[in-house]
Structures are given as structure tokens and as C-alpha cells.
């Protein structure tokens, strides 16, 4: 079985999450909108509990949680549901496609958009944000952790600057939840996108955190719904709730919050071991992203002179990714790495390894050995030996 080092693309479902979901896939199958019988009440109670679990894990109140079908929908709702023509959005060059594409559409509809550059590590400069904010700025959207490099933005600082001008801040925390502490008060976030399948929960479920009471002096945002219909959930998001999925998300978030203090350092150690082994075998290896301000499980490296397609193609037993999962079916160079100033040949040589809860030391060492061997074969060069070419 292949070594799964692509936990930023998606994570396996934790067995304990599946266990929590199973009753709602079996006998407790009701529609929470059915108020006339016990099947509906049981389902509604399960959704309430999951909402509490998720809210607790991010320091929010249950009524601040809106369940969606995923972080992409949350991102779309946060931006498209908040901004009107003539208003101004500030975002950054390394945001997820869900933000980038929504911003592009809004721009066509008359919203002004400023895209801030990032430095060589992928960080947004707080001063750049300060300069970008204008009287008509209505929202700032800055991701917490980048999906490709794992670089962690100083969201708290960015929120402070944003709030000084009365502008609310949205953060896409899909990659961060379960990997680093995510607390809406510590971050100062007014809106936050979350995803279940990035923290050992099921695919098809996400959430949007919406601050209930505005911070003093900050414009209060209650995004308008993207979907219109049955009026479930305070009219904000229509459609029958995915009860088992929501239950799974609540449990996944709760489990991750408990596991984090032990899990994050363990995964970090494994990642550093992987980097050491790769660097020893491949001295030309280059690390992409911030050396410290980075998700513990993410390792994005460039293999100079090597085509990543060739590399990954020769590694059928290592599941890693060139760039993000969303971008991997097209062959474009990474937008994120380009924004960090990497040249085209460096971006095309980049691989993202992302470790997770179920990654073992044995897997890391085996993967490193396989990778080093394949790189040697491709370059025809073995360290410490004359070239075989």
C-alpha cells in the first residue's frame, strides 16, 4: 500500500469519526427539518451537538457556526455574500482558488479587488495591508495557513490592522484546523472558513464561522446566502442538512483539539526527519515556504533540475502532490510558488509532502529512501560516487 504523504489534499477518516457517524447512516436517518416526529428531533439534536463541538474547538458560540458543503462554499459565501459593487476587497496572491476565483468574479461584477504580494516565504506584510485599506474597503480576506507551502500568516496582526480601519477580516482556515491552534478570539477573525476532510472528518462538509456580535468599531457582516430554498438554518443556507457528515465534522474537530498538543510536535519531528533524510541524499534540495512559521506536517521542496511529473511518476508507492490537489489535474506552474518569486523551473520542480495523524516514522524513512533513489536514477548521479553517466 502506498505511503500517504498528501494529507493537505485530504485526510483519511478517523475510525472514531466514522463510529460517531454510523448511527446517522443507519437507524437515525431523519431529516432535521422534520419537526413532526422523533426521527427529525433526533437528527436535529445530533446537528446541535456537532455545532457545539465544532464551536468549542475554535472558541466560538454554536450559533456562530454555519454548516456548508465544504470550505469552497464557505469561501464563496464569505466573499460573494458580503461584497457589493463599488466596495473594496483586499486579499493576497497565495490564497486558495476558492478565494481567487470568487474575487475574480466579484471584480467582473464591479467590486474593487487588491491582491497583496507575499514575500519569498509566502508571508503577507502587515504594512502592505495597512497601505491597501481604503475608505471603501469592506472586507479583508487572508488565509491562515497556505495549502501548498504550509506558511502561516500573521492573521492576528492582519486583523488588528484591518479592525483599526473598521474593516472585518475573513480567514480561510481550512488547512489550519486540527494542525495548529485555531481560535477565533486569538485570531481576531470575523469570518472563518473550515473544512472537515482536512482534519480527519468526512468530505462534503465545511463550515463558515460568522461573528455574532461585532467587535467595537468594526463593521458587522452577516453574509447573504449563496443558496436559496427551504430556509433551513436561519435562512442563511438552504438544503437538507448532511447529518452524518456534520456529526463527523463535530467529532473530528473535537478529537483534533484534544490531540493537538501531542500530535503537532510528533508530526513536526517526522517532517524534520523527512527533510533531513532528503537533504542528506539530495544536497541541492530547496525548501519552499517559511522555515518556522509553517504547518507542522507540510514540507514543500524543489528538486532542482528534475521534472516533478517524472519524479512522482517514478514513485508509485509515495502519494505526494505537485502543488495543490485542485491544481494537479492541470499542468500549470504553481501560482503560489510563482507569487513567492520562484522561477518557473523551480516551481515545476516542487513537490508537496504533507504528513498527518497516521504517518509513521517507518513510512517517512521508507519514503525518503525511495525518493532519494529515484532522484539519483533520474540525475544519474550518486552522492560520493563518480557519475555513472
Amino acid at each position: 500500500m502506498s505511503i500517504y504523504l498528501d494529507n493537505n489534499a485530504t485526510t483519511p477518516l478517523d475510525e472514531r469519526v466514522l463510529e460517531a457517524m454510523l448511527p446517522y447512516l443507519k437507524e437515525d436517518f431523519g431529516n432535521p427539518a422534520s419537526t413532526t416526529h422523533a426521527f427529525g428531533w433526533t437528527a436535529a439534536a445530533a446537528v446541535d451537538l456537532a455545532r457545539e463541538e465544532l464551536a468549542d474547538s475554535i472558541g466560538a458560540s454554536p450559533e456562530e457556526i454555519l454548516f456548508t458543503s465544504g470550505a469552497t462554499e464557505s469561501d464563496n459565501t464569505a466573499l460573494a455574500g458580503s461584497l457589493r459593487p463599488g466596495e473594496h476587497l483586499v486579499t493576497a496572491a497565495t490564497e486558495h482558488e476558492a478565494i481567487v476565483e470568487t474575487a475574480r468574479r466579484l471584480e467582473l461584477a464591479g467590486v474593487r479587488v487588491t491582491v497583496l504580494p507575499v514575500d519569498g516565504h509566502g508571508l503577507v506584510a502587515p504594512d502592505a495591508l495597512r497601505e491597501a485599506i481604503r475608505p471603501e474597503t469592506a472586507l479583508v480576506s487572508m488565509m491562515l495557513a497556505n495549502n501548498e507551502t504550509g506558511t502561516i500568516n500573521p492573521v492576528y496582526e492582519l486583523a488588528e490592522i484591518s479592525h483599526e480601519s473598521g474593516v472585518p477580516l475573513h480567514t480561510d482556515a481550512a488547512q489550519a484546523l486540527g494542525k495548529i491552534p485555531v481560535n477565533v478570539e486569538d485570531l481576531g477573525a470575523d469570518l472563518m472558513s473550515l473544512s472537515a476532510h482536512k482534519c480527519y472528518g468526512p468530505k462534503g462538509v465545511g463550515a463558515l464561522y460568522v461573528r455574532r456580535r461585532p467587535m467595537p468599531g468594526v463593521r458587522w457582516l452577516q453574509p447573504e446566502p449563496l443558496l436559496h430554498g427551504g430556509g433551513q438554518k436561519r435562512g442563511l443556507r438552504s438544503g437538507t442538512l448532511n447529518v452524518p457528515g456534520i456529526v463527523g465534522f463535530g467529532r473530528a474537530a473535537a478529537l483534533s483539539a484534544v490531540a493537538l498538543p501531542e500530535e503537532a510536535p510528533r508530526i513536526l519531528t517526522l517532517r524534520e526527519r523527512l527533510l533531513d533524510l532528503l537533504r542528506t541524499g539530495i544536497p541541492a534540495l530547496r525548501l519552499n515556504g517559511h522555515p518556522e512559521k509553517r504547518l507542522p506536517g507540510t514540507l514543500n521542496v524543489s528538486f532542482p533540475g528534475i521534472d516533478v511529473g517524472d519524479l512522482l511518476g517514478a514513485l508509485p508507492d509515495v502519494a505526494a502532490s505537485a502543488g495543490s490537489a485542485c491544481a494537479s489535474l492541470d499542468a500549470e506552474p504553481s501560482r503560489v510558488l510563482s507569487a513567492m518569486g520562484l522561477l518557473a523551473d523551480e516551481t515545476s520542480a516542487a513537490v508537496r509532502f504533507s504528513l498527518g495523524r497516521f504517518t509513521t516514522l517507518e513510512e517517512v524513512e521508507r519514503a525518503a529512501a525511495l525518493i532519494v533513489r529515484v532522484v539519483e536514477e533520474i540525475t544519474g548521479f550518486r552522492l560520493g560516487e563518480p557519475s555513472r553517466a
Binding site: L25, A33, R105, G230, T240, A319, C326, A327
Partner: protein, 392 residues
């Protein structure tokens, strides 16, 4: 959930079929590694293959090509995407036609368009719930961007003449959307015969999981996405695919396709038993067309009784039924069903309406038991209300 409660609210949601759960568990348990369908590696490819197999199965259910099916997170999202997406793709046209009995997923999407400057024509229905065909034909205009009529109604179960409606739109060159959420798996649907542009489906109404829907989009129909991002589903619906849910949807539609006739015969017999048993009580009346209705739907107005009391009484006796529709029942405050009002019922009649919807696994004994409970509940509640009236 106590096993002794008989579930007769299949129009709200259906239990997951065991075989569907089995198909989903392959993708939920850690034993088989499935990745993100957008990833190139083996776990990603396995997930992608699962999604494509399910797509082919959904396509087969409605006799479409797999490339014409895209997955969404719900029937509501599919309806929204169709109505708003078809309208947005034709910016010059600012008129929308819907029936007066559409699901909120269509009516609210149309209202949203109305709020942004569209004109919306709502075509009425007869007292049997069937759309006024000539009224529909007259409503179509050169600037109509989209027309939408449901295949079968979620509350009263009435089946609309979609083939004729689709033909009218086709002749006029107007995109036609059909909400087939309640119809799929209960009626044969063939998009090669019925010229719809788009058609919405939902998994959890046909023994699949909650959180998955699909939209059939005819080759060549132009649509703007509602949710953008990573460009999944040909750019029409971004977001990581709900692989396990989609696998479950695939398994559910395969069963629905193969068992369609058997299910229909089984459900119709039970439905007719409920109708004849319940309407034999004085003051109990069937809503909606007696023949042109879903195989599993019974919708009754019970004179002199409030639906809320009746359904709670029935719940206490061990029978789960619906009042109006699930989507309307959670709305805060009482509101008479717009569907029943459109059919010319009074508010009182609307407030006294209950929906009993049987399923493929409902048994004759359960229906017999229900009729007994229903008779008890109606009789008791009427005595109480007479008593209350006499007291006051």
C-alpha cells in the same frame, strides 16, 4: 431511534439502504485508502474512478450521458444552480417562469432573481395541483431566460405534464429546468424523450445519503456556476467531491433503476390502501390529483383537526408522518402551505393537512397499523375539540 416507530415520511428523507451504506463504507473506513479525486496519485485516482462510476450510474437513471451529470451537495443546490445559472448565462433576458407549486429551492431562487430586477411569472395550478398548461404556454416570452416546473410535487405528490411543458419550451427555444428530486426513483425519467435543459436530483430521497445531489445539464446548455474555486465538475461546481456520498448516490441510483417497477407496484398498493382507508373516515379528503400522483404519496386534509396535534398524536402512537413538507415545518411560526393555497384550499384546510409517504420497505402490516392509529387519533382529537367547544 426506537425500532418500533414506523417511518411514513419518505418524502422528507429516506433511510439509507444497507447496500448503499456498504458502498459508502469502502470510502469511509481506513482499510482502503481513498484520496482527493483531484490528486494524481493512486489514492486520488481511486477516488476519481469512484466518482466517475457514480456519474455513469446517475446518467443511466435518467438516460443521459455521464458527461451531462454534475454532482452538487443537495437537490436544493442543484435547483439553485439551474435556475440562477441558466439565467446568468443569458444576461439579456430578464424574465423567469415557474409554477406556483415549486419547491422553495426553485421559488426562493426565482425570488432572488426578482430582487435583482428579473420579472417572474408564476403559473397557477388547478384544484388537483396540475399546472395550467395554456397559462404556461402564454407565460413564455422572447425574453424568458428560464422556465422551471417540478416533475412531482414534494407536498401533495402531484405529477406534472413535464413532457408537454418541455416541448413548449423547446419549441420556443427557452431553457427548461425540472426539479425531479421527488420523482427520481419513483417514475421513469428519460431525458432523451423529454427535452429538458437541466434536471435536479437528490440522493437522500431515494435511499442514498444526505449531502449529495446532482444536476443533469444537457450537452450545449449554457450555465454559470454558483460556487467557484478549484474548478471541479467542469468548473460548474467547485469544491472537493464528497466521494463517499457520491459513491452512495451511485449505489442508490443503481438500485432505483433496477427496482423501479417493483418499488412502484409495491408503493402504489400501500398508497391506495392508505387513501381508501383514511378517506373512509368522515371529513378526510385527499389533496392532489388522485391518479397523477407519486406512487408513495398520500396527502390528506382532516376537517376540524390541526395537523400539528394529529402528527404529534401519531408520533406518540408510533407512526412518523409529515405535516405539509419537512422544509416548511421547521419555519418559525405557522404559515399555510403555499402549495395548498395555490390549489385553492382555505387556510384552515391547509393547517389540517398531513402527508403520509410510504417507502420501498414499508409493509402491509405497518399500513394496517397506521390506519388503525389514524382512526384512533382522528376520533380522539375530534372528541377533545368537541369537548373544548362545549366547555367554552
Amino acid at each position: 431511534m426506537p425500532n418500533d416507530i414506523v417511518y411514513l415520511d419518505h418524502a422528507a428523507t429516506t433511510p439509507l439502504d444497507d447496500r448503499v451504506l456498504e458502498a459508502m463504507l469502502l470510502h469511509l473506513s481506513g482499510a482502503t485508502l481513498r484520496g482527493n479525486p483531484s490528486s494524481l496519485h493512486a489514492p486520488g485516482a481511486a477516488a476519481r474512478e469512484t466518482v466517475e462510476e457514480a456519474r455513469a450510474a446517475v446518467a443511466r437513471l435518467v438516460n443521459a450521458e455521464p458527461g451531462e451529470v454534475l454532482f452538487t451537495a443537495s437537490g436544493t443546490e442543484a435547483d439553485n444552480l439551474a435556475v440562477m445559472g441558466l439565467a446568468a448565462a443569458q444576461p439579456g433576458k430578464r424574465h423567469v417562469v415557474i409554477s406556483a407549486v415549486e419547491h422553495p429551492a426553485v421559488t426562493k431562487a426565482a425570488e432572488h432573481l426578482e430582487a435583482t430586477g428579473y420579472e417572474v411569472t408564476r403559473v397557477g395550478v388547478g384544484s388537483d395541483g396540475i399546472i395550467d398548461l395554456s397559462g404556461f404556454a402564454e407565460a413564455l416570452r422572447p425574453d424568458t431566460a428560464v422556465a422551471a416546473v417540478m416533475w412531482a410535487n414534494n407536498e401533495v405528490g402531484v405529477v406534472q405534464p413535464v413532457e408537454e411543458l418541455a416541448g413548449l419550451c423547446h419549441e420556443a427555444g427557452i431553457p427548461f429546468h425540472v426539479d425531479a428530486v421527488q420523482a427520481a426513483g419513483r417514475l421513469p425519467i428519460d431525458v432523451s424523450r423529454v427535452p429538458v435543459s437541466t434536471l435536479a436530483l437528490s440522493a437522500h430521497k431515494l435511499y442514498g445519503p444526505q449531502g449529495v445531489g446532482a444536476l443533469y445539464v444537457r450537452e450545449g446548455a449554457e450555465l454559470e456556476p454558483v460556487i467557484v474555486g478549484g474548478g471541479q465538475e467542469k468548473g460548474l461546481r467547485s469544491g472537493t467531491e464528497n466521494v463517499a456520498g457520491i459513491a452512495g448516490f451511485g449505489a442508490a441510483v443503481r438500485l432505483a433503476h433496477d427496482d423501479l417497477e417493483e418499488r412502484r407496484r409495491h408503493e402504489e398498493a400501500l398508497r391506495d390502501a392508505v387513501i381508501s382507508g383514511a378517506t373512509s373516515l368522515p371529513g378526510v379528503r385527499l389533496n392532489g390529483h388522485p391518479q397523477e400522483r407519486l406512487s408513495n404519496n398520500v396527502h390528506l386534509s382532516v376537517e376540524g383537526i390541526e395537523a400539528e396535534s394529529l402528527v404529534l398524536y401519531l408520533d406518540a402512537l408510533g407512526y412518523a408522518v409529515g405535516s405539509g413538507s419537512a422544509c416548511a415545518s421547521s419555519t418559525i411560526g405557522h404559515k399555510a402551505s403555499p402549495v395548498l393555497l395555490a390549489m385553492g384550499r382555505t387556510e384552515n384546510e391547509a393547517f389540517s393537512a398531513v402527508r403520509i409517504s410510504v417507502g420501498k420497505d414499508t409493509s402491509e402490516e405497518e399500513v394496517e397499523g397506521f390506519l388503525h392509529a389514524f382512526t384512533t387519533a382522528v376520533t380522539q382529537l375530534r372528541e377533545v375539540s368537541t369537548f373544548t367547544l362545549a366547555e367554552s
